[in-house]
């Protein structure tokens, strides 16, 4: 009897539901077609696209509200409430003009993201929709840089062009930043030209490259921080149109050198005008295949990996004479299996790094390698299943008087995931956090860095004061480690000095200051000489010990 009653209720419910609206929407939001967009010239127009999709395949749905609170000047038309057919969608477009860098930062002050504006995200714009039985949100980030120039540090720029069906370089080309500390490869943007031979000029902190596709005439170009390109001048070269320029570097005097792979031409260019200063054919020892080279700031020579002979090779940029290393290159002390190095960078300190692939055909891996230019051997620092990338660039010469990057900092996640960085921090001795105690062990430090502000590891709920202590201790420990590891001076921890009278207001103020400080230098690269090449947050979490305050 009970079963029949429930069946009856189910039947009535099903009939009722068949006349109802569906209740499944999804909101999506993009800015200039991306989830995160970088602006470096002003004024610039930002095009926001908001999409509302009725994800129910059978029933129409009634959208009751659609808002983008930060973008007050935008009218979302058609206005809600409105009915969206089954599987259908409504797209709103909104354009805003960013007049200046300051205008962008002002948006960050008024958005819903509590930590913007900062050095990674200037503002976050959120799109929210609502209907009778639910809601959906999506966001997009905008980063505004004060000017298009990049800063001279150990940032590794990698680029890659697409391929035409015939195998020639094709647009778009993509610019990435490779972070050897985390293995992350972050897309900076795309260019509508198929470029290669990327190089960083330390005089104007700008990336230069040559756009060539083997069909049309090549051009000398500038690539900006957002990955977009602009032609400086057609390339004045004796090379045929079928030429594909692959390697690029900037010499100490600021002139750009490019290499063409089939004719072995080496061209030297004035980057200001794009005019050719000289052109010659490289004298090679025999087989020669080189994807990229970089200038050694110690001797001014160009260094590369000869993929044909599997040896380190050196090219004199003035005479054009290439000299292979006497010995086959080894990786990690062993003969490497078919290594193909695609990107080469020198740090300003004269350390050489190659990015490329090696291994048997069935198990090839991409890796980042330190190179001993004396022995010609490689040491693999990091292996990641990242795509084969074509070219590398880095600021290779200290240039006095040029703008200095923000001092390097990293957030608590980095120190909570990089065992080598945290051990270096602890090697200086116990870390005093004032009234919040002292840390001297790796598990103790990890315990603070990974402590949850709401729940302790024994499942106890934290009080408001306990939560504040956790959040402050995490940032204070991180600031001390930034000072110890990166020599970036930490704010004083005076608000934590007196254990008997912790003023929550002052402590919260300090926490916010520490958090801003710890994020302030995240865009500045970690010096490669630090040899920080691995993070594993999951392993670190397992080793963390719950702190006691």
């Amino acid at each position: 009897m009970m079963g029949r009653k429930w069946l009856g209720l189910l039947f009535i419910g099903a009939v009722w539901a068949s006349n109802a609206w569906a209740s499944d929407f999804r909101a999506e939001k993009l800015v200039n077609g991306l989830k995160q967009y970088t602006v470096d010239t002003y004024p610039e127009t930002l095009r926001f696209t908001f999409t509302v999709t009725n994800i129910d395949p059978t029933l129409p749905s009634e959208l009751l509200s659609a808002t983008a609170p930060l973008l007050k000047s935008c009218t979302l038309s058609p206005t809600s409430p409105l009915v969206v057919p089954a599987g259908g969608h409504v797209t709103y477009q909104c354009e805003i003009e960013l007049e200046s860098h300051d205008a962008c930062l002002t948006l960050g002050i008024h958005d819903a993201n509590p930590v913007t504006p900062n050095h990674e995200v200037s503002f976050t714009s959120t799109f929210s929709i609502g209907w009778d039985a639910g809601a959906s949100q999506a966001g997009a980030n905008v980063l505004c840089l004060p000017q298009p120039n990049l800063l001279c540090d150990d940032t590794v720029y990698l680029s890659t062009a697409s391929r035409s069906p015939e195998g020639r370089p094709a647009a778009p080309s993509r610019l990435y930043i490779f972070d050897p500390a985390t293995g992350a490869v972050t897309l900076q943007g795309e260019a509508a030209l198929p470029y290669n031979a990327l190089a960083f000029n330390h005089f104007d902190n700008t990336l230069y490259a040559i756009a060539s596709d083997g069909v049309s005439a090549a051009s000398f170009i500038r690539v900006d921080a957002t990955g977009s390109s602009s032609i400086i001048a057609p390339l004045d070269t004796a090379a045929p149109r079928s030429a594909i320029w692959t390697a690029g570097a900037v010499l100490k005097d600021g002139s750009y050198v490019g290499f063409e792979h089939s004719t072995h031409r080496l061209i030297r260019i004035n980057p200001s005008t794009g005019g050719t200063l000289s052109e010659q054919v490289v004298t090679v020892p025999g087989d020669f295949q080189m994807a990229d080279f970089a200038m050694n700031p110690r001797d001014g020579q160009l260094y590369a990996f000869n993929n044909a002979t599997q040896r380190l090779t050196r090219i004199d940029p003035l005479t054009g004479v290439a000299t292979d290393h006497a010995e086959l290159a080894q990786i990690d002390g062993r003969s490497a299996e078919n290594p193909v190095m695609s990107a080469a960078v020198f740090t300003r300190d004269g350390e050489f790094f190659l990015y490329g692939t090696s291994g048997p055909d069935t198990r090839r891996v991409s890796g980042f390698h330190a190179v001993d230019v004396t022995t010609g051997n490689l040491t693999r620092l990091l292996t990641r299943p990242v795509p084969q990338l074509a070219n590398g660039a880095m600021c290779g010469v200290y240039s006095w008087g040029s703008p200095r990057p923000q001092p390097t900092t990293r957030d608590r996640g980095f120190f909570g995931a990089s065992e080598s960085a945290l051990l270096e921090c602890l090697a200086y001795g116990p870390i005093s956090l004032g009234a919040l105690g002292e840390v001297s062990t790796l598990p103790g430090a990890l315990g603070i860095l990974w402590a949850n502000p709401a729940i302790a590891s024994n499942n106890a709920r934290r009080t408001a004061l306990e939560s504040l202590k956790v959040r402050t201790a995490r940032e204070a420990l991180t600031a001390v480690c930034n000072e110890r590891v990166f020599n970036t001076r930490a704010p004083t921890l005076s608000a934590l000095e007196n254990p008997a009278s912790l003023d929550p207001g002052r402590v919260e103020e300090l926490r916010q200051r520490l958090e801003r400080h710890n994020h302030s230098g995240k865009r500045t690269a970690i010096p490669l000489r630090k040899r920080i090449f691995a993070v594993d947050p999951l392993r670190a979490m397992e080793r963390a010990e719950e702190p006691r305050f």
Binding site: L10, G13, W16, A17, A20, A22, S23, D24, F25, R26, E28, K35, Q36, L59, A112, N113, P114, V115, E120, V121, T126, G130, D132, A133, G134, A135, S136, Q137, A138, G139, A140, N141, D179, T182, G183, A184, V185, T186, L187, R384, R410, D411, R412, G413, F414, G416, A417, N452, P453, A454, I455, A456, S457, N459, R461, K522, V535, P537, L538, M541
Partner: protein, 176 residues
């Protein structure tokens, strides 16, 4: 969600049968039931579109529930300390809030802790969840359908490559 009329009849049955894949915290529930003038509602978080990830660990930072600016009591759940959102079968209990009978509408802000971790292709990395704030408003009548609100976080659309790891920008679907 698709059968709102039926769902009005179901909360009692769900309580009697348990909540399937969802976990529960009995002490919270008993405390709520012991208070005659408060109704308890759950806030849960569930990962979606997580096929590419072996693990996505995020922790709760802070949850604020207010009604016309007045705070509403919220009790966090121990389960919210570290939630693996790659397990899309599981709606993690963030906690419960307790509504006086006269309160008809609430504003909910969920802030995730600012750093998380993921594992993809056997390699682990960091998640920058600083922008991991989810805000929405809801009504008592919507909440009463199932006594809970579930935030579905679409990981494929919410996580993208950023400096030093993944950046979280929540793409959500909030259901009652």
């Amino acid at each position: 969600m698709k059968i709102p009329s039926l769902s009005r009849w179901v909360p009692g049955l769900l309580v009697a049968l348990g909540t399937g894949a969802c976990d529960s915290s009995e002490d919270d529930l008993m405390r709520a039931l012991g208070d005659p003038v408060l109704d308890a509602f759950e806030i849960r978080l569930r990962g979606q579109d997580a096929a590419q990830y072996e693990k996505v660990l995020l922790g709760m930072g802070q949850v604020e529930v207010t009604s016309f600016g007045e705070p509403v009591r919220f009790e966090p759940s121990p389960n919210a300390r570290a939630m693996d959102l790659s397990d899309t079968d599981h709606a993690h209990l963030l906690g419960r809030f307790f509504l006086p009978r006269y309160v008809k509408q609430v504003d909910i802000t969920v802030r995730l802790d600012d750093v998380g971790a993921f594992k993809e292709d056997s390699l682990a990395g960091l998640i920058n969840a600083q922008a991991g704030t989810i805000q929405f408003s809801t009504t008592r009548s919507a909440l009463e359908q199932r006594s809970r609100v579930v935030i579905h976080l679409y990981l494929k659309d919410s996580l993208f490559d950023g400096m030093g790891g993944k950046t979280l920008l929540p793409a959500t679907y909030i259901a009652h």
